[in-house]
Every structure is written in C-alpha cells, then in structure tokens.
C-alpha cells in the first residue's frame, strides 16, 4: 500500500461529461427538472385548498390587470365620440377603479398566500431533511462534511423557499399574463400584435445572456462579502495571537485586500445590473416606436381607434415584463431544482433503523467479546485487523496506543456507530447486530474526548442522558461526576446556561457534565475516550475521582494517552497498527518490556522535562 494518497479524481456527469460542482452525482444541466418538480409538488399536497386559492387569486389578478386598459380604451373612444353621456363615463371610470382595486386586493392576497405556502412547505422540507439526516448511519455522515450539510439546510432550502414563495407563483402568473395579453392584443389588432412581438426575441435573448453575467457578478459580490466576514471574524477572535505576534499591520493589509475586493465586486454587480436594465428599457422603447408608427398609421386610416392604440401601448409594457421575469425565474428554477435534487438525494438515503426487530437487552451482565473484528472506514484500508479480546462484566479496561492506531475505532464499533467488515462483537454472548440498535446505544454510553454540550441549561444537558430522569437523579449523577459543587457555585445553579457548545464552562467542567450525562443514562458498559486528555492537573484529578466512582460495577473502557489515567485499571490492551499487541495488568506489561514499557519510558522523560 502506498504511503501517499492518490489525488481524488474529478467527478463528471455520466451523461454530458461536464465536471460536477459537488461529488453527489447531480449535474445541474442534466437533471430531470420535471421529475423533481413532481416530487416537490407532493409537499404541496397537504395544502390543496391554499394552492387552489392561490391559483384562483392569480387568475383574478390577471383578469383585473387585463381589464384596466380595455376600460381606458372604452373611455377614450367614447370621449372622442360625440355625445357621450356623463353617466356612461362614470360607469367606465368606476369599472377602471374596480379593476385597480381588484388588482390590489388580489396582489395582497397573492403575496400573503404565496409567502404562507412557501414557508409552510419549506418548513416541512427542512423537517424531513433533519429527521432523515440525524438518523443517517455514521458512515454516511462521514461522507458529508458539516459545511455540505449546513449548505443543504441553509442555502438549498433558501433557494427552494425563494422559488416556492415567489418564483413559482411568478412563473404561473407570467405564463397566464402572457397568454392573456396576446389574446387581447390579437383581438384588438393582429397586425399591431405582430409589431409588438418583433422586439420580443431580442429582449428574451438579452435577458437570457445577461442574466447569467448579472448572477455571476452577484455571486462574486456575495462571495467577497463572505470572505470579508471570515477575515474580520478570524482577526477578532484571534486578537490575542495577532497582538502577541505584532501582526496588527498584517491583519490590516489582509482586511484591505478583502475590503477592496468587496468594493470591486459590488461595483461590478451594480454596473451589470445597470447595463441589463438600460438595454431592456431601450428594447422596450423600440417596440413602442413600432407600435406608435404602425398603430398611428392605422388610426389615421381609421382602421384602429385611438383607445385601441393606447390600450395596445399599455399591453406592450405589460407584455415585456413577464418575458424578463421568465429569464430570472428560469435561473431561480435551475438553482431550486439543483437544491431539490440534492435534497431528495439525502432524503432517499438509507437511515439507521433503531427499532427493527431484534433481541431485547433489558438486563445484561456486560460481558464484551471482540471476535476476529476487521474494519476500515475505507473498505480498502482496514484500520483494525483481526481484533480478539474478551472483557469480563464489571472489568475496567485501559486502552493505550499511539495516535491513529484504532483505539477510538474499537469503541465506535462497540457503540455500533459502524458495522464490522468481518468478525463480530458480542455482548453477553450475543452478536450486537442481533440486538435492537436503540437498546445497544442505551446500554453503551460514551464520554468522548471532545465533549459537546448543547446550548441550554446544565440541567437540560445532563438530562440528555435520560429524558425522564427526576431532578433528584440529575443531581445524583452530577454528584457522582464531581460536578455538583461547581454547579452550585454558579448563581443560576442547574439553570445556568452553558452557551453554544458549552463555551461558558471550562474544559474540566464540560467533561464532568458529560460524565454526569453518561451516568444518568445508567449504562452497563461505559466508554471514556481520553476524557481527561485536555484538562489541567486539578480538573484531571476531579474528573478521575468521578470516573473511579462511575466505573464501579460497570464494564468500563478507558482510552488514554496519559499513563497516570490507566495505571489502576484491571487490565490494559495495547493497540498498535490496528492490532491488539499486548494485554495484561500494568505491572505485567512493564515487566515484559514491550510497547507499554516504551510508552512508560517516554512518559517518564516527558515528566522529567516538565
């Protein structure tokens, strides 16, 4: 096996061979939009009545919009006609007013309905996505970076929301409006309709071409703003390092570069926008000249009334905007469809079935046996090879080895975060794959090296171990974890907020809350994964005392770097290059002068240096 990793091959679309923007196999160019739209529309199914209301409101709005120029036509034609009754004029103005009022009402209703629907549907979509992602197997989660998942939740869903809330209604409205306008124009004057349609291909082409440039410029602008935000955030959060190394000027220069990029990209986006709309207006005016000339001639020849000419001019303005919207909506549709495909790809991925039928695990002894276990995160590169060991119920096992030798992986398999490639892990003589997954997780608790607490109170974080625990049980767990005293020292006690990720607590405090959480779950098997590695001496002592108390009567695995942590365990497993190479008590292994002996010497040298 080579020590060097091969460069990851670029992923191309199977159909058009274009390079893909993400390694998910979705080609924005080839995706089946209609299939995706159909799947997306299933999310509208629970909201049939609001959807039908929205369509009705759109149709009414368009009818009112189309009626207004016709009313103006009638007014003009009758004013120029001799002997028009004031009563008739009042009627026509009334109709015009009613049309405007109806338009306003319909627009208000459309806005409300589409926003309501858009938010509802995207909330459902977000819920579905989250519900699936949290149940993904660890292998699937490993393949997705947090940034990618966040992008699905934030960017893709925002695009879907934009499309469903404004893009889709706009698309329907534009289509209906175009059909309506063309119908009325043909009714007014077929030859004038032909003249009006002359600049249409130009406007469509211009929109199609320039909209991409405009979007590119806007993308560059938002990307430069994101860079600026990251730069400022980094400089400020690392301000102590900046000051310690006198790098204020360097940071200032970096900021200048980012700021300058924001200035340039913003100006570029504005300029593209200006050019885009100026040309659109110009092309629309070209149509206007044509209509005035051809229509005016028809009026002079008395083949068209003045009212019809002015109505046609009004329709001209109304006609070009939907064309321009199509360009914009097409882009929004593209982005929304790409997001939707990626969304469906995630929601169609298999999830862990925690409650599939399996053996119950109500009361176990805690006998753990690894039998010929082989496993690799990548199937071609095993991390663990033919692992065999047995741990008696209530035994405390220390696992030691160099970084990256598979210690944590061993325990990940015991938690069933991953399934073994070969071999089996048995608890009380039964393969853990034969137990219900949720029951295995209830009986095997882990205190990871990187403690993660959720933004909430201390009580809520401990209760995470068992949601139905009483307050007394929570306090008891905190006491066992040596956390109770520092909790009482806080003004809000168990009601204290821990901050995002627990950042308001020290490392030792976080660890002890995590231990209390694990204790509350009351597992038969407990895994402590380098639980004290990042703590100062005092905190380490407090945590170790807690661990000693917790380990009683449980099968406990302690993964450690520091030998002091595992000196008193019942037995040690020394792991090296994916294999268990030594096993025995601390003193036995030292006497063998093997790998543990080497670690002990290195540890002693380090202590001497300190």
């Amino acid at each position: 096996m080579s020590d060097f990793l091969e460069p990851a091959p670029a992923v191309r679309c199977q159909s058009c061979r274009r390079l893909l923007p993400e390694k998910n196999g979705v080609c924005p160019k080839c995706l089946d939009r209609w299939a995706t739209v159909r799947a997306l529309f299933q999310y509208l199914a629970p909201y049939r009545l609001p959807v039908l209301s929205l369509v009705a409101v759109l149709a009414a709005s368009i009818a009112a919009e189309l009626a207004a120029p016709l009313a103006i036509r009638q007014i003009l034609d009758r004013i120029v006609a001799p002997g028009m009754a004031l009563r008739a004029l009042a009627w026509l103005v009334g109709i015009l007013l009613a049309a405007r009022l109806a338009m306003w009402l319909c627009e208000t209703a459309r806005g409300r309905l589409s926003v309501w629907l858009g938010h509802r549907v995207t909330a459902d979509i977000r819920y579905t996505l989250f519900e699936r992602v949290v149940r993904f197997p660890m292998r699937s989660i490993d393949g997705l970076s947090t940034a990618t998942l966040l992008s699905r939740f934030v960017n893709d869903i925002a695009r879907l929301e934009e499309f469903l809330g404004s893009g889709a209604p706009l698309l329907v409205m534009s289509a209906l409006l175009l059909a309506g306008i063309l119908g009325v124009l043909l009714y007014l004057s077929p030859s004038l309709t032909a003249a009006i349609l002359l600049p249409v291909p130009l406007i469509s082409l211009w929109t199609w071409f320039l909209w991409k440039r405009l979007r590119t410029a806007q993308d560059k602008q938002s990307s430069s703003l994101a860079s600026l935000s990251v730069q400022v955030s980094e400089s400020l959060s690392g301000i102590r390092v900046v000051k310690a190394f006198c790098q204020e000027d360097g940071e200032y220069q970096r900021f200048l570069q980012c700021n300058d990029r924001v200035r340039r990209t913003s100006a570029e986006a504005e300029q593209e926008s200006f050019v885009f709309f100026t040309v659109i207006y110009f092309l629309m005016n070209t149509g206007l000249f044509l209509i005035w000339f051809i229509g005016g001639r028809q009026v002079l020849q008395s083949t068209l009334t003045v009212g019809s000419l002015l109505a046609a001019v009004s329709y001209l303005w109304m006609l070009y905007w939907p064309l321009q919207w199509f360009g914009q909506v097409s882009n929004s549709l593209n982005q929304a469809m790409t997001g939707a495909v990626q969304f469906f790809e995630l929601t169609d991925s298999p999830v862990e079935e925690r409650s599939v039928p399996g053996l119950p695990m109500r009361s176990i002894q805690g006998l753990v046996c690894f039998e010929n276990v082989t496993f690799g995160y990548n199937a071609n590169r095993p991390v663990l090879n033919e692992i065999n060991f047995q741990v008696e119920p209530g035994e405390v096992i220390g696992i030691i080895g160099r970084s990256g030798t598979g210690k944590t992986t061993l325990m990940n398999l015991l938690c069933r975060f991953y399934e073994t490639d070969r071999g089996a892990i048995l608890i009380d003589g039964v393969d853990i794959r034969d137990y219900r997954l949720d029951e295995v997780r209830k009986q095997v608790a882990i205190v990871p090296q990187e403690t993660f607490l959720f933004n909430g109170t201390i009580e809520e974080n401990i209760r995470y171990g068992r949601s139905d625990a009483t307050f007394e049980e929570i306090v008891a767990a905190a006491r066992m974890a040596n956390a109770h005293q520092f909790i009482l020292g806080r003004v809000d006690g168990y009601d204290s907020l821990v901050g995002p990720g627990g950042d308001r607590l020290s490392g030792g405090e976080r660890q002890r809350i995590a231990i209390a959480r694990a204790i509350l779950a009351n597992p038969r098997i407990l895994i402590l994964d380098e639980a004290t590695s990042s703590l100062d001496v005092e905190s380490e002592l407090a945590v170790q005392r807690a661990l000693a108390r917790v380990a009683r009567n449980r099968t406990t695995f302690i993964i450690a770097h520091r030998l002091s942590t595992i000196r008193n365990v019942d037995r040690l497993l020394v792991v090296d290059r994916g294999r268990v190479v030594e096993t025995g008590t601390y003193d036995e292994l030292l006497a063998r002068m093997g790998l543990l002996w080497e670690f002990a010497n290195a540890y002693a040298e380090t202590r001497d240096l300190q």
Partner: protein, 168 residues
C-alpha cells in the same frame, strides 16, 4: 443494574436547627450536634424551582445537605432561609411596563417594579431574555441586574400588549 443514589441527596430536615451567630452569620446545627458557622444557602435551580432543592453549603462552599422543599423546614428556620435567599438572589419584580423601545437588537425599558421606577437596557438575546415556562420571564440587563415578570398574564393589559408586541 447499578441504580443511582437518587434519595441520598435529600437529608431529612427534621432535627436540624438554624440560628444566627453574634456576627449575623447563619449557624446550622445537625441532629448529631455538628454545627457550621457561616453556612450559605443556595437554590440548586433558582429559576425553574425557586422553592425546591435548597442547598446548605459550608463556608468553603462544600455542600452540607439539601432539602427538597422549603416547607420541609420548621417555620422559624424557613424564615431565616428565606431571608438568606433574598440577600443572595436580588431580583426586582416588574409590576408594570411603562414603555419598551427596540433599537438595533437592544431593548430600552421603563418599568415600575417592586423597588420603584426602573429604567434599564437589555440586549435582545436568549441569554438576556429568558422565558421560564410560558408565562414567566427573566431579564438580565446590560449591567447584570435581574428583573422578573413572574406571570405575564397577571400584568395589566397595556403591559402585556407591550411584551407581546416586542418579545413574543
């Protein structure tokens, strides 16, 4: 299965005695005659369970014992404990909201509290504005002072409306 010592924390409050030392400190005497001068009284969960789980700490901050409920104490002891708790947890109770102005993520309050008129500023964040249940509200102003609305529905209509418009 190992059971958590759930009942071990609540010592029977019967037989304990509380008094004041000549210096005004709290003196706790346990049934076995052991006494602790300078005992501090704290709430384990002052916001969610203010009258439950009251802890007695020695002068070094170590827990001596915890009672589940204030009412478990004899009346004269309870009065002493309540006095201690009032000293530790200084929280003004908002009786009326006169005005509330929201500007750029900051809220400017004018209120009538149990300690008189109070004008204060609160940042609009979950840490500064904490809902304790559906009706109870805790505010921590920019100077760290705590103010509470124990029950929003008990406020006058105008105050409740101001809170509803700005916070709900």
């Amino acid at each position: 299965m190992t059971e958590l010592p759930a009942t071990a924390l609540a010592t029977n409050a019967k037989g304990i005695r509380l008094s004041r030392t000549p210096g005004g400190h709290l003196l706790l005497t346990l049934p076995d005659g052991k006494s602790f001068a300078g005992t501090r009284v704290v709430r384990a969960a002052p916001l969610s369970q203010p009258s439950h789980h009251i802890c007695f700490l020695d002068s070094d901050g170590h827990e001596i014992f915890m009672v589940r409920d204030l009412s478990d104490l004899a009346l004269e002891d309870r009065l002493l404990v309540e006095e201690e708790l009032r000293k530790r947890y200084i929280t003004s109770v908002i009786r009326r909201v006169i005005s509330l102005r929201r500007e750029g993520g900051t809220l400017y309050w004018e209120t009538e509290t149990d300690r008189g008129f109070r004008e204060f500023v609160v940042q609009s964040s979950d840490e500064s504005i904490r809902w304790l249940g559906e009706r109870s509200l805790l505010l921590i102003d920019v100077d760290g002072n705590r103010l509470t609305v124990p029950d929003i529905s008990a406020l006058d209509r105008a105050s409740a409306r101001i809170l509803a418009d700005n916070l709900i």
